[in-house]
Symmetry: C2
Subunit: 275 residues, 2 copies
């Protein structure tokens, strides 16, 4: 049976005293149950903690066997299901599932005080005549500052440079039980010729900022009205949001920190003095 385990399931140790199993080829569910039983007994003896099974969707015939072997769901993506079982008799320290989607909105203004706006082909503003900022979802593994630049490029063809996060909003139950974080970003345009590259956009234009703010959908919505006023005070030079700085952790991982860089400017000076 051990020979079969090695052949049919690939198991690698993780950094938390656990095991990650991958099923890479089709398998009979009875055989899978039997392999799983033997392996679990070995891992328990070895003092393993969390045991993970990554099941590609083409092996959905094995989900039921894993659940019957005491596994629960952890998370799923379109093409796989991740199951987990905590082995010790102490409360589990397994990481929680992802709880938030992350979206970005882009505030882009040219030298004529015109704001870049779009009309969408779907969603709640479709067919309403509303002109809104380009918005979109942050992709897997994508930085917020990069997502804003990408969305503007896709929806309008305009090249931009990220300036600041002006504000963000957290909302709940945005789909099923999941929450949503939405970051309003100020971007500086580097080109001006509009050309949409996606079917999601009906139309795009540069619109005088006053006309944008005068739209009923802005005026009648306390949240949009607030966001618009924040954007405008940024235009007037009276507002500082959070800019992004690439920092390095002790493990050498690069990560963006977003903070008020105007107020924190002297920090960098302090840092250089020490170095």
């Amino acid at each position: 049976m051990e020979g079969e385990t090695i052949e049919l399931l690939s198991a690698v140790e993780d950094h938390h005293g656990g095991i990650v199993l991958s099923v890479d080829q089709p398998m009979d569910s009875t055989l899978f149950s039997s392999i799983l039983e033997t392996s679990m007994s070995n891992w328990r003896q070895q003092g393993k903690k969390g045991v993970w099974i990554k099941l590609p969707i083409q092996h959905s015939n094995l989900v039921d066997s894993a659940v019957k072997a005491g596994f629960r769901y952890h998370h799923a993506e379109p093409d796989y299901l991740m199951l987990v079982r905590w082995m010790p008799d102490i409360p589990d320290t397994l990481p929680a599932n992802a709880s938030h989607r992350v979206g970005v909105g882009a505030f882009v203004v040219n030298n004529n005080k015109e704001v870049l706006v779009v009309q969408e082909t779907s969603g709640k503003f479709r067919g309403t005549g509303v002109w809104k900022m380009p918005t979109g979802a942050v992709n897997e593994g994508e930085d917020i500052c990069d997502a804003a630049v990408r969305e503007v490029k896709e929806e309008t063809g305009i090249e931009t440079k990220f300036v600041e996060v002006l504000a963000f909003r957290q909302s709940h139950k945005s789909f099923f039980e999941k929450s949503d974080l939405f970051f309003v970003c100020m971007l500086e345009p580097q080109s001006f010729d509009i050309q949409s590259q996606t079917s999601e956009i009906e139309s795009a234009q540069w619109m005088p900022v006053e006309d944008y703010a005068a739209q009923p959908f802005v005026q009648e919505n306390e949240l949009f009205d607030f966001i618009t006023k924040i954007c405008f005070s940024k235009l007037d030079g009276n507002y500082t949001g959070f800019s992004s700085v690439l920092t390095c952790t002790s493990s050498g991982k690069k990560t963006y920190l977003y903070f008020n860089n105007r107020d924190a400017n002297y920090l960098s000076a302090f840092k250089h003095e020490q170095a």
Copy 2:
């Protein structure tokens, strides 16, 4: 068959022209496949778009049937799996899965310029002697400002009031392919007597801010060093982060907006003038 459908599966329409199916009782997988086939054919004729199946984990015997009927995974929580199938012949507009976990860290300082710190019983700092800020994950449906207050209460017994988000950090591949957003929050202590209420914490104390900053784990990590300097410039009165304001959308939903309220103060005045 239609009578059976109504009895065995509950189906409700969603707001996007789709259907959400729930399986509430045990069912034979052959019967499920047959009901699904009939229902799908009806829904296609009715022009339905996304069809969702919420499968509680106790009905894991039906996962394979749903996948064979053309459904894919959308997301999973410990106790259920959500599958979806897009019916029309146009690209799908289904919402993306949650991509980020959200965590908070709490910077709490008393009038003696002592910062509230803890030692954890697990995690990468266990047994290292490192004193760190209280941190934790935001619960499902919880606001960032509330999560910070709750974590401090659980880990130290200290009551606090949320002041500001001082900075946030986005990192990737923090578990499998999921990303992580971490918000550093400044809180004002309302009580001072430390009493931990969770087994996650080994010890907690008020520590002179200089001693906190002098720890090697802070000094040797560019990210922690940066965050610490931001916190200290807040203490010196030179820094403004994002405070939280509860706003209302047109649908009446309450949502927190986080922004630089010092710079945007005149917005509120402007708002009141208009009202």
